[in-house]
Symmetry: C2
Subunit: 268 residues, 2 copies
């Protein structure tokens, strides 16, 4: 599997134009940009630079956040942007519970209803929606927390299954799902539904709930095993490195970060 | 459900003798002591003081840590201590992966094998072993991370089911399991297997993976709903408050902490 760079990995050091140049310099051929960075550079300029660099867009981060008041407009815009960039998926981080609520089940139903509401536009634009289960410790950011739950949502939203091109599927980020005793079972079930595969590592000494991800090989995730399961489920895309790292990688020379990402692909 | 105090809740402020006195002062009738505190006070002295205070021991924390070299001796000692204190269960925090390992599946099998090895002694002592699934973010401390996984272990270790007094069961701590989409299903399945019920709250602003638990009512867990599910599964014990809190409750006057625990029982 080839390497794609999720732009969050060096977002503290570089803007999107610099990141695109960096990918070219390091021979990284895939890119998954975040929408705030796209907005800063401009959508058309982003497209032009991505094309000139010969990069493949492997996803756009992110739609979702259905707990926000203007979720619908924002998601429709996100679908358009992903369509314009010819992204194979719009990654959904589904949002948390409304302020003051303790009703997790309702927040989860709300996610299903919201996805159902924008799914026709996503299908029409040819931009599948990739539900990304987030680690249970991040439930305040996203109430979909296991692969099983995400796939249950897919089945509910597309009862016909994932024959042909699915309108909705899942993004599998090892950081969020590696611990799950049901991982192998659910990845097998995900056949035809995997729209993105994100890699990094879990540090046993993790100090922060959001921004202390490890570089591949520095932690305790058996990456080759999970890649094997993802491939067995039919995924043929790139593996996208996404590292949020306040204490380490966001502090380093970004060229060193990209060089390390490429090197470490051999342990993935 | 009556209140029991897990001694971790005020361990930074008081030693075990002071905690026992505090329980008497505040009319708290249950106690779940940690073994390091028992060791400091002495096992016999602990028993004497608990009895004199008229407290019911609701559990002993903790056995497990099967990743340690001397796990067997330590767990056999823990069973003896729990027996001596007439605890209804020994809580197991099962331990993580061996240093340098990325083999989560093997670590999980090791847990099963270790419990099987000490289960005869636990049965003989009349001390059921309570497997406590820990939050997936704490996988480096415990590789059992969902209620389903813990109950699968119970079924494997005691294929006959939980008829009569089980030798092995589960401890349900809301902090570790509240996020789980399978919670209701698994609690229903847990009938006869629930050996402890621990409460606190999940703060949406959680800053630490271990020691930032909230007081009941300060977070977003629907405590009455989970209590209802636990009661429906036949649990008739106390609810045990267990709060690790570096930033807040461990810094407060412990009498205020105990008073607050009692008050907040009305939102549980």
């Amino acid at each position: 599997m080839e390497l794609s760079l999720n732009t969050a990995t060096v977002r503290k050091q570089w803007d999107l134009a610099q990141i695109i140049d960096g990918c070219v310099r390091h021979g990284i051929r895939g890119l998954s940009p975040w929408r705030d960075q796209i907005a800063l550079l401009g959508l058309k300029e982003t497209k032009k630079r991505v094309d000139d660099a010969g990069l493949t867009v492997t996803g756009v981060c992110r739609g979702g956040f259905f707990s926000d008041r203007n979720w619908k407009d924002d998601n429709l815009r996100a679908i358009e942007e992903a369509h314009f960039l010819r992204a194979p998926a719009l990654i959904l981080v589904v949002g948390g519970m409304p302020e003051g609520s303790k009703d997790l089940a309702s927040a989860r139903k709300h996610v299903r209803d919201c996805i159902a509401e924008v799914l026709p536009q996503a299908r029409q634009a040819g931009v599948p929606l990739a539900i990304e289960p987030l680690h249970p410790m991040q439930v305040a950011r996203a109430v979909v927390n296991t692969l099983r739950q995400a796939l249950d949502l897919c089945d509910e939203l597309e009862p016909g299954g994932a024959q042909g091109a699915p309108g909705v599927g899942v993004a599998v980020d090892v950081y969020h799902v590696w611990w799950d005793p049901q991982l192998a079972t659910q990845l097998a079930r995900a056949k035809g539904r995997i729209l993105g595969y994100h890699i990094c590592d879990w540090l046993p000494s993790t100090r922060d709930l959001f921004n202390d991800r490890g570089m591949m090989g520095d932690g305790i995730i058996d990456l080759p095993r999970i890649r094997g399961l993802v491939e067995a489920a039919g995924y043929r895309g790139m593996q996208e490195v996404e590292i949020f790292s306040d204490f380490d990688w966001w502090k380093r020379d970004p060229d060193e970060v990209l060089r390390t990402c490429k090197e470490r692909l051999k342990v993935c």
